[in-house]
Protein backbone atom coordinates (compact mmCIF):
# COMPACT_ATOMS: atom_id res chain seq x y z
CA UNK A 1 0.00 0.00 0.00
CA UNK A 2 1.35 3.33 -0.98
CA UNK A 3 -0.21 6.04 1.14
CA UNK A 4 0.90 8.88 -1.13
CA UNK A 5 -0.69 7.11 -4.08
CA UNK A 6 -3.96 6.67 -2.29
CA UNK A 7 -4.01 10.29 -1.15
CA UNK A 8 -3.45 11.42 -4.73
CA UNK A 9 -6.23 9.16 -5.90
CA UNK A 10 -8.54 10.58 -3.24
CA UNK A 11 -7.61 14.13 -4.13
CA UNK A 12 -8.29 13.43 -7.79
CA UNK A 13 -11.60 11.81 -6.92
CA UNK A 14 -12.52 14.87 -4.90
CA UNK A 15 -11.53 17.26 -7.64
CA UNK A 16 -13.59 15.33 -10.14
CA UNK A 17 -16.63 14.96 -7.96
CA UNK A 18 -18.92 17.74 -9.09
CA UNK A 19 -20.39 19.95 -6.42
CA UNK A 20 -23.76 21.61 -6.68
CA UNK A 21 -24.76 24.98 -8.11
CA UNK A 22 -25.29 28.01 -5.88
CA UNK A 23 -29.09 27.88 -6.15
CA UNK A 24 -29.66 30.17 -3.18
CA UNK A 25 -28.05 33.57 -2.90
CA UNK A 26 -28.41 35.38 0.41
CA UNK A 27 -27.52 39.06 0.03
CA UNK A 28 -26.83 40.55 3.44
CA UNK A 29 -27.09 44.15 2.26
CA UNK A 30 -26.15 45.83 5.52
CA UNK A 31 -25.42 45.09 9.16
CA UNK A 32 -27.37 48.21 10.21
CA UNK A 33 -30.56 47.40 12.08
CA UNK A 34 -32.97 49.36 14.28
CA UNK A 35 -33.60 46.29 16.46
CA UNK A 36 -31.25 44.55 18.89
CA UNK A 37 -32.45 40.93 18.97
CA UNK A 38 -30.22 38.92 21.32
CA UNK A 39 -30.17 35.93 18.94
CA UNK A 40 -29.14 37.81 15.80
CA UNK A 41 -27.26 35.70 13.26
CA UNK A 42 -24.85 38.51 12.37
CA UNK A 43 -21.26 38.14 13.59
CA UNK A 44 -20.48 39.44 17.07
CA UNK A 45 -17.95 41.88 15.66
CA UNK A 46 -20.19 43.24 12.87
CA UNK A 47 -19.33 46.82 13.90
CA UNK A 48 -15.78 46.14 12.80
CA UNK A 49 -16.39 45.22 9.14
CA UNK A 50 -15.54 47.21 6.04
CA UNK A 51 -17.58 49.46 3.74
CA UNK A 52 -20.82 48.13 2.23
CA UNK A 53 -20.90 47.06 -1.41
CA UNK A 54 -22.23 49.70 -3.80
CA UNK A 55 -25.38 49.32 -5.88
CA UNK A 56 -23.35 48.38 -8.97
CA UNK A 57 -21.27 45.85 -7.05
CA UNK A 58 -24.42 44.13 -5.80
CA UNK A 59 -25.94 44.05 -9.28
CA UNK A 60 -22.77 42.46 -10.61
CA UNK A 61 -22.96 39.80 -7.86
CA UNK A 62 -26.60 39.09 -8.78
CA UNK A 63 -25.77 38.76 -12.48
CA UNK A 64 -22.82 36.43 -11.92
CA UNK A 65 -24.66 34.20 -9.45
CA UNK A 66 -27.68 33.98 -11.76
CA UNK A 67 -25.39 32.76 -14.55
CA UNK A 68 -24.13 30.09 -12.15
CA UNK A 69 -27.71 28.90 -11.63
CA UNK A 70 -28.95 30.88 -8.61
CA UNK A 71 -32.76 31.11 -8.65
CA UNK A 72 -33.63 32.28 -5.14
CA UNK A 73 -32.39 35.62 -3.90
CA UNK A 74 -32.91 36.71 -0.31
CA UNK A 75 -32.47 40.36 0.65
CA UNK A 76 -31.39 40.27 4.25
CA UNK A 77 -29.16 42.06 6.72
CA UNK A 78 -29.15 43.60 9.29
CA UNK A 79 -32.30 45.32 8.15
CA UNK A 80 -32.27 45.48 4.32
CA UNK A 81 -34.79 48.37 4.35
CA UNK A 82 -31.96 50.61 5.53
CA UNK A 83 -30.52 50.46 1.99
CA UNK A 84 -32.03 53.31 0.00
CA UNK A 85 -31.27 51.49 -3.25
CA UNK A 86 -33.38 48.45 -2.32
CA UNK A 87 -36.04 49.20 -4.97
CA UNK A 88 -33.36 49.30 -7.66
CA UNK A 89 -31.72 46.09 -6.43
CA UNK A 90 -35.09 44.30 -6.43
CA UNK A 91 -35.86 45.50 -9.96
CA UNK A 92 -32.49 44.34 -11.31
CA UNK A 93 -32.77 40.97 -9.56
CA UNK A 94 -36.27 40.39 -10.87
CA UNK A 95 -35.18 41.30 -14.39
CA UNK A 96 -32.45 38.66 -14.14
CA UNK A 97 -35.11 36.03 -13.34
CA UNK A 98 -34.67 35.58 -9.60
CA UNK A 99 -37.46 34.76 -7.21
CA UNK A 100 -36.94 37.68 -4.85
CA UNK A 101 -37.46 37.42 -1.09
CA UNK A 102 -37.35 40.34 1.32
CA UNK A 103 -36.46 39.21 4.84
CA UNK A 104 -37.32 42.08 7.14
CA UNK A 105 -38.25 43.13 10.65
CA UNK A 106 -40.83 45.46 9.10
CA UNK A 107 -39.38 48.40 11.01
CA UNK A 108 -39.14 51.35 8.65
CA UNK A 109 -41.57 49.82 6.14
CA UNK A 110 -44.62 51.72 4.87
CA UNK A 111 -47.56 50.99 2.56
CA UNK A 112 -45.92 53.20 -0.08
CA UNK A 113 -42.64 51.33 0.02
CA UNK A 114 -44.42 47.95 -0.05
CA UNK A 115 -46.18 49.15 -3.22
CA UNK A 116 -42.90 50.41 -4.72
CA UNK A 117 -41.32 46.97 -4.10
CA UNK A 118 -44.30 45.33 -5.81
CA UNK A 119 -43.79 47.63 -8.76
CA UNK A 120 -40.10 46.64 -8.84
CA UNK A 121 -41.12 42.97 -8.97
CA UNK A 122 -40.62 41.72 -5.41
CA UNK A 123 -42.09 38.21 -5.08
CA UNK A 124 -42.37 37.65 -1.34
CA UNK A 125 -41.98 39.33 2.03
CA UNK A 126 -40.99 37.59 5.23
CA UNK A 127 -41.71 39.53 8.43
CA UNK A 128 -39.97 38.45 11.61
CA UNK A 129 -41.65 38.70 14.99
CA UNK A 130 -40.06 38.30 18.39
CA UNK A 131 -43.22 37.14 20.24
CA UNK A 132 -47.03 37.12 20.07
CA UNK A 133 -47.18 39.42 23.01
CA UNK A 134 -46.37 43.12 22.80
CA UNK A 135 -44.34 43.34 25.98
CA UNK A 136 -42.16 40.28 25.36
CA UNK A 137 -41.73 41.21 21.70
CA UNK A 138 -40.54 44.70 22.50
CA UNK A 139 -38.30 43.51 25.33
CA UNK A 140 -36.56 41.08 22.96
CA UNK A 141 -36.42 43.50 20.06
CA UNK A 142 -35.06 46.23 22.31
CA UNK A 143 -37.71 48.61 20.91
CA UNK A 144 -40.94 50.00 22.36
CA UNK A 145 -42.80 50.42 19.07
CA UNK A 146 -41.77 47.26 17.24
CA UNK A 147 -44.83 45.06 17.83
CA UNK A 148 -47.57 47.43 16.65
CA UNK A 149 -45.51 48.35 13.60
CA UNK A 150 -45.04 44.67 12.72
CA UNK A 151 -48.79 43.99 12.94
CA UNK A 152 -49.51 46.95 10.70
CA UNK A 153 -46.92 45.87 8.15
CA UNK A 154 -48.02 42.22 8.09
CA UNK A 155 -51.61 43.33 7.33
CA UNK A 156 -50.38 45.67 4.59
CA UNK A 157 -48.22 42.95 3.00
CA UNK A 158 -51.26 40.68 2.64
CA UNK A 159 -53.53 43.53 1.55
CA UNK A 160 -51.14 44.17 -1.34
CA UNK A 161 -51.33 40.53 -2.44
CA UNK A 162 -47.89 39.24 -1.57
CA UNK A 163 -47.22 35.70 -0.38
CA UNK A 164 -46.24 36.20 3.26
CA UNK A 165 -44.05 34.19 5.58
CA UNK A 166 -44.08 35.08 9.25
CA UNK A 167 -41.00 34.06 11.16
CA UNK A 168 -40.94 33.60 14.91
CA UNK A 169 -37.63 32.70 16.48
CA UNK A 170 -38.70 30.65 19.47
CA UNK A 171 -36.89 30.29 22.77
CA UNK A 172 -37.43 29.98 26.50
CA UNK A 173 -39.24 33.35 26.75
CA UNK A 174 -41.87 32.86 24.05
CA UNK A 175 -42.17 29.14 23.27
CA UNK A 176 -44.90 28.61 25.89
CA UNK A 177 -47.07 31.07 23.93
CA UNK A 178 -46.87 28.95 20.79
CA UNK A 179 -50.67 28.67 20.61
CA UNK A 180 -51.04 32.45 20.65
CA UNK A 181 -48.25 32.79 18.09
CA UNK A 182 -50.02 30.41 15.73
CA UNK A 183 -53.37 32.14 16.22
CA UNK A 184 -51.81 35.51 15.49
CA UNK A 185 -50.32 34.13 12.26
CA UNK A 186 -53.68 32.71 11.20
CA UNK A 187 -55.36 36.02 11.95
CA UNK A 188 -52.73 37.90 9.92
CA UNK A 189 -53.26 35.56 6.96
CA UNK A 190 -49.73 34.15 6.74
CA UNK A 191 -49.08 31.60 3.98
CA UNK A 192 -46.18 30.00 5.82
CA UNK A 193 -45.20 30.25 9.45
CA UNK A 194 -41.67 29.47 10.51
CA UNK A 195 -41.54 28.51 14.17
CA UNK A 196 -37.80 28.36 14.20
CA UNK A 197 -36.04 27.52 17.39
CA UNK A 198 -33.06 29.70 18.04
CA UNK A 199 -29.82 28.48 16.51
CA UNK A 200 -27.00 28.96 18.96
CA UNK A 201 -24.30 30.87 17.12
CA UNK A 202 -22.98 34.38 17.52
CA UNK A 203 -25.28 36.49 19.68
CA UNK A 204 -27.56 33.57 20.54
CA UNK A 205 -24.58 31.56 21.81
CA UNK A 206 -23.64 34.46 24.08
CA UNK A 207 -27.22 34.45 25.40
CA UNK A 208 -27.80 30.70 25.36
CA UNK A 209 -28.54 30.39 29.07
CA UNK A 210 -31.34 32.94 28.66
CA UNK A 211 -32.72 31.40 25.45
CA UNK A 212 -32.47 27.58 25.35
CA UNK A 213 -35.88 26.08 26.19
CA UNK A 214 -36.19 22.89 28.24
CA UNK A 215 -37.03 19.60 26.58
CA UNK A 216 -40.48 19.70 28.17
CA UNK A 217 -41.14 23.20 26.75
CA UNK A 218 -40.05 22.03 23.33
CA UNK A 219 -42.13 18.85 23.33
CA UNK A 220 -45.19 20.76 24.44
CA UNK A 221 -44.72 23.33 21.68
CA UNK A 222 -44.30 20.63 19.04
CA UNK A 223 -47.40 18.79 20.25
CA UNK A 224 -49.49 21.98 20.16
CA UNK A 225 -48.17 22.82 16.69
CA UNK A 226 -49.21 19.35 15.47
CA UNK A 227 -52.68 19.82 16.94
CA UNK A 228 -53.04 23.15 15.14
CA UNK A 229 -51.86 21.58 11.89
CA UNK A 230 -54.67 19.04 12.05
CA UNK A 231 -57.34 21.53 13.07
CA UNK A 232 -56.32 24.06 10.41
CA UNK A 233 -56.17 21.39 7.73
CA UNK A 234 -59.63 20.16 8.70
CA UNK A 235 -60.87 23.75 8.37
CA UNK A 236 -59.40 23.87 4.86
CA UNK A 237 -56.84 26.53 5.81
CA UNK A 238 -53.79 26.12 3.51
CA UNK A 239 -51.44 27.84 6.01
CA UNK A 240 -48.26 25.83 6.52
CA UNK A 241 -46.62 25.61 9.93
CA UNK A 242 -42.93 24.83 9.79
CA UNK A 243 -41.51 23.77 13.15
CA UNK A 244 -37.74 23.84 13.42
CA UNK A 245 -36.37 22.00 16.46
CA UNK A 246 -33.07 23.05 18.02
CA UNK A 247 -30.41 20.46 17.35
CA UNK A 248 -29.43 20.66 21.03
CA UNK A 249 -32.14 18.05 21.66
CA UNK A 250 -31.06 15.70 18.87
CA UNK A 251 -28.64 12.76 19.02
CA UNK A 252 -27.41 13.20 15.45
CA UNK A 253 -26.27 16.49 13.93
CA UNK A 254 -27.94 18.35 11.08
CA UNK A 255 -26.41 18.27 7.63
CA UNK A 256 -25.00 21.74 7.68
CA UNK A 257 -26.45 23.92 4.87
CA UNK A 258 -27.31 20.73 2.94
CA UNK A 259 -23.59 20.36 2.37
CA UNK A 260 -20.82 22.95 2.50
CA UNK A 261 -20.66 24.82 -0.80
CA UNK A 262 -23.43 22.71 -2.32
CA UNK A 263 -26.45 25.06 -2.56
CA UNK A 264 -25.98 28.22 -0.49
CA UNK A 265 -23.98 31.32 -1.17
CA UNK A 266 -24.05 34.21 1.29
CA UNK A 267 -22.52 37.56 0.44
CA UNK A 268 -22.01 39.82 3.45
CA UNK A 269 -22.30 43.64 3.45
CA UNK A 270 -18.59 44.11 2.72
CA UNK A 271 -18.53 41.52 -0.08
CA UNK A 272 -17.12 38.54 1.79
CA UNK A 273 -18.56 35.35 0.28
CA UNK A 274 -19.51 32.53 2.64
CA UNK A 275 -20.97 29.00 2.27
CA UNK A 276 -23.23 29.79 5.25
CA UNK A 277 -24.09 33.04 7.01
CA UNK A 278 -22.39 31.90 10.23
CA UNK A 279 -19.15 30.72 8.63
CA UNK A 280 -17.38 34.03 9.09
CA UNK A 281 -16.49 32.96 12.64
CA UNK A 282 -14.29 30.11 11.36
CA UNK A 283 -10.51 30.53 11.10
CA UNK A 284 -10.64 30.29 7.31
CA UNK A 285 -9.86 33.04 4.84
CA UNK A 286 -12.99 33.62 2.78
CA UNK A 287 -12.94 35.25 -0.66
CA UNK A 288 -14.45 38.65 -1.45
CA UNK A 289 -16.57 39.51 -4.48
CA UNK A 290 -14.55 42.71 -4.94
CA UNK A 291 -11.45 40.64 -5.72
CA UNK A 292 -12.80 37.48 -7.36
CA UNK A 293 -15.59 36.40 -9.66
CA UNK A 294 -18.47 34.36 -8.22
CA UNK A 295 -17.40 31.53 -10.52
CA UNK A 296 -13.86 31.50 -9.05
CA UNK A 297 -15.22 31.85 -5.52
CA UNK A 298 -17.68 28.97 -5.88
CA UNK A 299 -15.50 26.54 -7.79
CA UNK A 300 -11.90 27.30 -6.88
CA UNK A 301 -11.55 29.24 -3.62
CA UNK A 302 -10.05 27.56 -0.57
CA UNK A 303 -12.89 28.88 1.55
CA UNK A 304 -15.56 27.07 -0.48
CA UNK A 305 -13.52 23.90 -1.05
CA UNK A 306 -12.45 23.59 2.57
CA UNK A 307 -15.18 21.20 3.75
CA UNK A 308 -16.26 19.71 0.44
CA UNK A 309 -15.83 15.95 0.37
CA UNK A 310 -14.71 14.12 3.53
CA UNK A 311 -10.91 14.40 3.40
CA UNK A 312 -10.97 16.84 6.31
CA UNK A 313 -12.83 14.53 8.66
CA UNK A 314 -11.30 12.98 11.75
CA UNK A 315 -12.67 10.27 14.03
CA UNK A 316 -15.39 9.46 14.92
CA UNK A 317 -16.69 10.92 11.62
CA UNK A 318 -14.13 9.49 9.22
CA UNK A 319 -15.11 5.84 9.70
CA UNK A 320 -18.76 6.54 10.54
CA UNK A 321 -21.35 4.82 8.38
CA UNK A 322 -23.61 7.89 8.69
CA UNK A 323 -21.07 10.43 7.43
CA UNK A 324 -22.78 10.78 4.06
CA UNK A 325 -26.02 11.65 5.85
CA UNK A 326 -24.80 14.55 7.98
CA UNK A 327 -21.21 15.31 6.89
CA UNK A 328 -20.14 15.46 10.52
CA UNK A 329 -22.70 18.17 11.28
CA UNK A 330 -22.21 21.89 11.58
CA UNK A 331 -18.65 23.20 11.30
CA UNK A 332 -19.44 26.42 13.15
CA UNK A 333 -20.98 24.54 16.06
CA UNK A 334 -17.98 22.21 16.26
CA UNK A 335 -15.62 25.19 16.30
CA UNK A 336 -17.68 27.25 18.71
CA UNK A 337 -17.98 24.46 21.27
CA UNK A 338 -14.72 22.53 20.93
CA UNK A 339 -12.30 25.04 19.42
CA UNK A 340 -11.62 22.57 16.57
CA UNK A 341 -13.52 23.17 13.34
CA UNK A 342 -12.67 19.65 12.08
CA UNK A 343 -14.20 17.94 15.11
CA UNK A 344 -17.50 16.09 15.04
CA UNK A 345 -20.47 18.35 15.82
CA UNK A 346 -20.98 17.85 19.59
CA UNK A 347 -24.70 17.31 18.94
CA UNK A 348 -23.77 13.82 17.75
CA UNK A 349 -24.00 11.24 20.55
CA UNK A 350 -20.85 9.64 19.07
CA UNK A 351 -18.84 12.82 19.59
CA UNK A 352 -16.40 12.79 22.53
CA UNK A 353 -17.65 16.34 23.22
CA UNK A 354 -21.33 15.42 23.42
CA UNK A 355 -21.23 16.15 27.18
CA UNK A 356 -21.12 19.86 26.27
CA UNK A 357 -24.58 19.56 24.74
CA UNK A 358 -25.81 17.54 27.71
CA UNK A 359 -24.51 20.24 30.05
CA UNK A 360 -26.41 22.91 28.09
CA UNK A 361 -29.60 20.83 28.32
CA UNK A 362 -29.10 20.45 32.08
CA UNK A 363 -28.51 24.18 32.38
CA UNK A 364 -31.81 24.84 30.56
CA UNK A 365 -33.58 22.90 33.33
CA UNK A 366 -32.05 25.01 36.09
CA UNK A 367 -33.42 28.32 37.33
CA UNK A 368 -31.24 31.20 36.20
CA UNK A 369 -31.10 34.57 37.83
CA UNK A 370 -32.36 37.18 35.39
CA UNK A 371 -28.89 38.12 34.30
CA UNK A 372 -28.74 40.81 31.68
CA UNK A 373 -29.25 39.76 28.10
CA UNK A 374 -26.48 40.87 25.75
CA UNK A 375 -28.33 42.86 23.09
CA UNK A 376 -27.08 42.96 19.54
CA UNK A 377 -26.05 46.56 19.05
CA UNK A 378 -23.02 48.58 17.95
CA UNK A 379 -21.76 49.23 21.44
CA UNK A 380 -21.75 45.55 22.43
CA UNK A 381 -20.35 44.60 19.04
CA UNK A 382 -17.32 46.86 19.52
CA UNK A 383 -16.57 45.03 22.77
CA UNK A 384 -16.45 41.76 20.83
CA UNK A 385 -14.43 43.34 18.01
CA UNK A 386 -11.80 44.50 20.51
CA UNK A 387 -11.55 41.22 22.38
CA UNK A 388 -11.80 39.03 19.25
Amino acid sequence: MNSTGSTTANTLAREQKPHGQPLWLLAELTYKCPLQCPYCSNPLDFADTGAELTTDEWISVFRQAREMGAAQLGFSGGEPLVRQDLEQLIAEARKLGYYTNLITSGIGLSAERIAAFREAGLDHIQVSFQASDEEVNNMLAGSKKAFQQKLKIAREVKAQGYPMVLNFVTHKHNIDQIDRIIELCVELGADYVELATCQYYGWAYENREQLLPTRAQLERAERITNEYRETLKAEGNPIRLIFVTPDYYEERPKKCMNGWGEIFLTVTPDGTALPCHSARMLPIEFPNVKQQSIEAIWNASNGFNHFRGDEWMQEPCRSCDEKEKDHGGCRCQAYLMTGDMNAADPVCAKSPDHHLIEAARASAEAEHPATAITYRNERNSRVFARSG
Binding site: Q21, M68, G74
Partner: protein, 94 residues
Protein backbone atom coordinates in the same frame (compact mmCIF):
# COMPACT_ATOMS: atom_id res chain seq x y z
CA UNK B 1 -63.26 3.46 -20.95
CA UNK B 2 -64.75 6.40 -22.70
CA UNK B 3 -64.71 8.62 -19.58
CA UNK B 4 -61.52 10.01 -21.05
CA UNK B 5 -63.27 11.43 -24.08
CA UNK B 6 -65.60 13.55 -22.02
CA UNK B 7 -64.60 17.17 -22.11
CA UNK B 8 -63.04 18.33 -18.86
CA UNK B 9 -64.04 21.97 -18.58
CA UNK B 10 -62.08 22.72 -15.42
CA UNK B 11 -59.56 25.53 -15.93
CA UNK B 12 -56.40 25.17 -13.84
CA UNK B 13 -54.54 28.28 -12.69
CA UNK B 14 -51.17 28.52 -11.02
CA UNK B 15 -51.34 28.90 -7.22
CA UNK B 16 -50.72 32.45 -6.01
CA UNK B 17 -47.60 31.41 -4.07
CA UNK B 18 -45.88 30.00 -7.14
CA UNK B 19 -43.95 31.26 -10.10
CA UNK B 20 -43.29 28.92 -13.01
CA UNK B 21 -40.28 29.42 -15.24
CA UNK B 22 -37.61 27.80 -17.39
CA UNK B 23 -34.22 27.60 -15.70
CA UNK B 24 -31.42 27.58 -18.32
CA UNK B 25 -28.77 26.51 -15.78
CA UNK B 26 -30.78 23.42 -14.90
CA UNK B 27 -32.31 22.80 -18.32
CA UNK B 28 -35.63 22.29 -16.58
CA UNK B 29 -38.88 24.01 -15.69
CA UNK B 30 -39.15 24.93 -12.02
CA UNK B 31 -41.74 26.22 -9.59
CA UNK B 32 -40.45 28.96 -7.34
CA UNK B 33 -42.12 29.91 -4.08
CA UNK B 34 -41.05 31.70 -0.89
CA UNK B 35 -37.51 30.48 -0.24
CA UNK B 36 -38.02 27.27 -2.16
CA UNK B 37 -37.95 25.63 -5.56
CA UNK B 38 -39.38 22.48 -7.13
CA UNK B 39 -37.49 21.16 -10.15
CA UNK B 40 -40.05 19.60 -12.46
CA UNK B 41 -39.53 16.57 -14.63
CA UNK B 42 -40.10 16.95 -18.35
CA UNK B 43 -43.75 15.90 -18.50
CA UNK B 44 -44.72 17.94 -15.41
CA UNK B 45 -42.98 20.94 -16.94
CA UNK B 46 -44.75 20.51 -20.29
CA UNK B 47 -48.16 20.25 -18.61
CA UNK B 48 -47.64 23.28 -16.36
CA UNK B 49 -46.32 25.34 -19.26
CA UNK B 50 -49.85 25.10 -20.70
CA UNK B 51 -51.56 26.16 -17.47
CA UNK B 52 -52.39 29.75 -18.32
CA UNK B 53 -55.76 30.34 -16.68
CA UNK B 54 -57.40 30.15 -20.15
CA UNK B 55 -57.14 26.53 -21.30
CA UNK B 56 -59.32 23.89 -19.69
CA UNK B 57 -57.98 20.39 -18.97
CA UNK B 58 -59.19 19.01 -22.29
CA UNK B 59 -57.53 21.84 -24.19
CA UNK B 60 -54.27 21.18 -22.36
CA UNK B 61 -54.53 17.48 -23.23
CA UNK B 62 -55.21 18.28 -26.88
CA UNK B 63 -52.26 20.67 -27.06
CA UNK B 64 -49.92 18.04 -25.61
CA UNK B 65 -51.25 15.37 -27.95
CA UNK B 66 -50.44 17.62 -30.85
CA UNK B 67 -46.96 18.39 -29.51
CA UNK B 68 -46.14 14.73 -28.71
CA UNK B 69 -48.13 12.68 -31.27
CA UNK B 70 -46.04 9.56 -30.62
CA UNK B 71 -46.77 9.56 -26.87
CA UNK B 72 -50.16 7.81 -27.07
CA UNK B 73 -53.05 8.59 -24.77
CA UNK B 74 -51.83 11.13 -22.23
CA UNK B 75 -55.11 12.06 -20.61
CA UNK B 76 -54.75 9.80 -17.60
CA UNK B 77 -51.19 10.95 -16.86
CA UNK B 78 -52.30 14.56 -17.14
CA UNK B 79 -55.29 14.11 -14.84
CA UNK B 80 -53.12 12.32 -12.29
CA UNK B 81 -50.46 14.98 -12.36
CA UNK B 82 -53.02 17.78 -11.99
CA UNK B 83 -54.45 15.94 -9.01
CA UNK B 84 -51.02 15.88 -7.32
CA UNK B 85 -50.37 19.49 -8.32
CA UNK B 86 -53.63 20.54 -6.70
CA UNK B 87 -52.82 18.67 -3.48
CA UNK B 88 -49.52 20.57 -3.39
CA UNK B 89 -51.39 23.86 -4.00
CA UNK B 90 -49.32 24.37 -7.17
CA UNK B 91 -52.56 24.84 -9.06
CA UNK B 92 -56.17 25.49 -8.30
CA UNK B 93 -59.27 25.45 -10.50
CA UNK B 94 -60.99 28.67 -11.44
Amino acid sequence: MNAAVKTDFRVPVLGSLFRFQWEPAQQAYVLLYPEGMVKLNESAGEILSLVDGQRNVSAITAALREKFPQAGDLSRDITEFLEVAREQHWIDYR
